[in-house]
Symmetry: C2
Subunit: 382 residues, 2 copies
């Protein structure tokens, strides 16, 4: 039995997405920049996908710039603003994904920018007060994610954006984990830049988007041909973008399915919390319906992951982008979690293919491990 | 009858590439950064593709960094070196693709770098003398392509690399158009950086690579997770990369097929040259076997393109990345071609699906247009 509970790292492709991509791959030699019939056919598919992605976050198609994924879009967002403004400061939440934190650090190390980390509280929330405390007169850009990839905690982005706007600072939000799991409305968020990714919403790896407010002047990260209205050079990855479009349309239609995932998640959480050794992180914060991060005191996260993997269960120790690393999660550390407990972190992220049987299987294997721990403790007289 | 003669802009997907990609898309939910079975399965496919791409240009797999395409790899190459060196000068040939010229201009405009354009001669060649004339003590990077995308002219990269090396300057070559059309050996080229793209060799759009010499320290362009040994963050586009790998393997096996394309191209050229109004650009230079660029004096290139398109024939006015623009080709202008003649430029690029019938059809339609031109000239008493 293979149990895949790592949907925040990547989702399987929806069959409808696969069908649309296969058709595009097989029958689309044209470069969408070419003016002949083959080029026009490719362009038409590209623009259809742009409208589908725009609809997911309720913007106009021309506010969508396609990228190679969420990481490029996050790098692009920071570059888009920093390259247009005088040197200054970036205010980035301490719990951002590495694809926001690392380009911010690179701007600080190599390009003369200064970086202020916005603190998160013990429940993994970035408050308006914390943002206010990080803002300086030279702050040019704020970046706070809509939902955290590890804990699943939702951030009060609209409220934060109001503070940023009052201070005259542009704001970006990484909505990669939120999109498809809850309704995301770009205008209602009040931000000027938003990142989306296809492969977290049953679309393909290799496609993402930066959504932008038309009042914001932005600088391209990739230079070359005039693709994407001069904002992102490079022949468009038509097949992946077509898949992204279909996935975006399906995601909007299927938001209702999240209630079932939340019931499964809540049930998993309740069962885990019956063990005194288990800590569920950010248990009291508003969270994504599909995500649960916990640790078992005394069990190392990477070891537990390997044991679960042997039992056919795929979960994560946090971000897939940092897996294999023995460093405790920067998200949990920012929440004030003890480093040793943080090393035990396991993230379970459900998806539309997740079943009651998956949860039962995970609970059974975890109960075994915890029971083993209890017996070992008794023997040792802990 | 649909006649596709724009393979330098994009090739149809090879059926074997499509099959490998479809399998990967359908059965690969895992993120290759994840340590569980799903992640390991994805990683294994990724590394297989890396070995296949490495073999195409005779390097070790660890010298391959996958990107979202040729444009990203070219931007990356310029950034990789400029971010590691003190401010200085870039020497870039005047006939480079926009994805080299534009990031070089952006570095010059925004980051304090200076840009020297290396001249091309009337046959579209960049000579060692021209490079030597462009080198300055502060030159940090040279970039000259292996084969030009418009004229098809091959550049003496090994000779140029020797001059660069003698001057202690790193060298990059854009091999996007050369790979798959002629044997490309990274070591023999003598460069430190090389760009490849999948969708010019019957692979998918959305995958490319930067090949690097291990002695060169390079800075990432995209920051975030530790993918690609920390050199290119972002979840890998597994399906496209798998397709790239298969395409690279097939390209190496099929180099012998180019002889047939060259015969077709030479025949097309001979027929065209029988018309006194036709100029074939760089006719006497060593060129890619599949490429022919010409102009008919008195016929506007974009208009001719549209007429050919109506007849079901897809060709290009030069780079697809600049199509729709009324500016004459920067490549032809750099060769000293008169701007009016350059506006007439039409590029024909053959591929493995090209047939004698395609060439006959193109020649028939072109002969009609030229005949019409002759009659108009007679009537007007030109």
């Amino acid at each position: 039995m293979r149990v895949y509970l790592d949907h925040n790292a990547g989702t399987p492709l929806d069959p409808k997405v696969l069908a649309a991509m296969s058709e595009t791959l097989a029958d689309m030699p044209g470069n969408p920049s070419s003016s002949h019939q083959f080029g026009r056919a490719a362009r038409a598919r590209l623009e259809q996908a742009r409208a589908q992605v725009a609809a997911l976050v309720k913007v106009q198609p021309r506010q969508v710039v396609f990228t190679s994924g969420g990481t490029e879009a996050n790098n692009f967002a920071l570059h888009a603003v920093s390259a247009q403004r005088p040197l200054g400061r970036l205010a980035v939440s301490a719990i951002e994904h590495p694809s926001v934190l690392e380009p911010a650090r690179a701007l600080a190390q190599a390009a003369g920018w200064s970086l202020d980390l916005i603190a998160a509280d013990g429940e993994g929330r970035v408050s308006a007060q914390a943002l206010q405390a990080a803002l300086r007169p030279e702050t040019r850009l704020v970046s706070v994610m809509l939902a955290n990839n590890e804990t699943g905690v939702l951030q009060p982005v609209a409220e934060l954006a109001e503070r940023a706007r009052a201070a005259g600072v542009a704001m970006h939000t990484d909505a990669v984990q939120a999109a498809g799991k809850l309704e995301v409305d770009f205008e209602a968020c009040g931000v000027q830049l938003m990142t989306l990714s296809a492969h977290k919403i049953y679309g393909p790896k290799g496609a993402g988007a930066l959504i932008f407010d038309k009042s914001l002047e932005i600088a391209p990260l990739l230079h070359g041909g005039g693709q994407e209205h001069g904002l992102r050079a490079g022949t468009e990855n038509i097949a992946a973008i077509v898949g992204f479009g279909v996935a975006a349309e399906l995601a909007a239609e299927r938001l209702g399915e999240q209630a079932r995932l939340q019931r499964l998640r809540d049930q998993l959480q309740a069962q885990l919390q019956r063990h005194r050794q288990v800590t569920v992180f950010a248990a009291n914060a508003p969270r994504l319906p599909n995500t649960l991060q916990f640790a078992v005191a005394g069990l190392d996260g990477e070891t537990l992951l390997m044991q679960l993997d042997k039992a056919g269960i795929a979960v994560s120790s946090g971000s897939a982008c940092a897996s294999g690393s023995s460093e405790p999660s920067h998200v949990l550390l920012a929440m004030g979690v003890d480093a040793e407990l943080a090393r035990g972190a396991v993230r379970v992220s459900l998806g539309r293919d997740s079943t009651q049987a998956d949860i039962d299987r995970l609970l059974a294997v975890l109960a075994e491990k915890i029971e083993w721990l209890n017996q070992a403790a008794q023997v040792a007289g802990w």
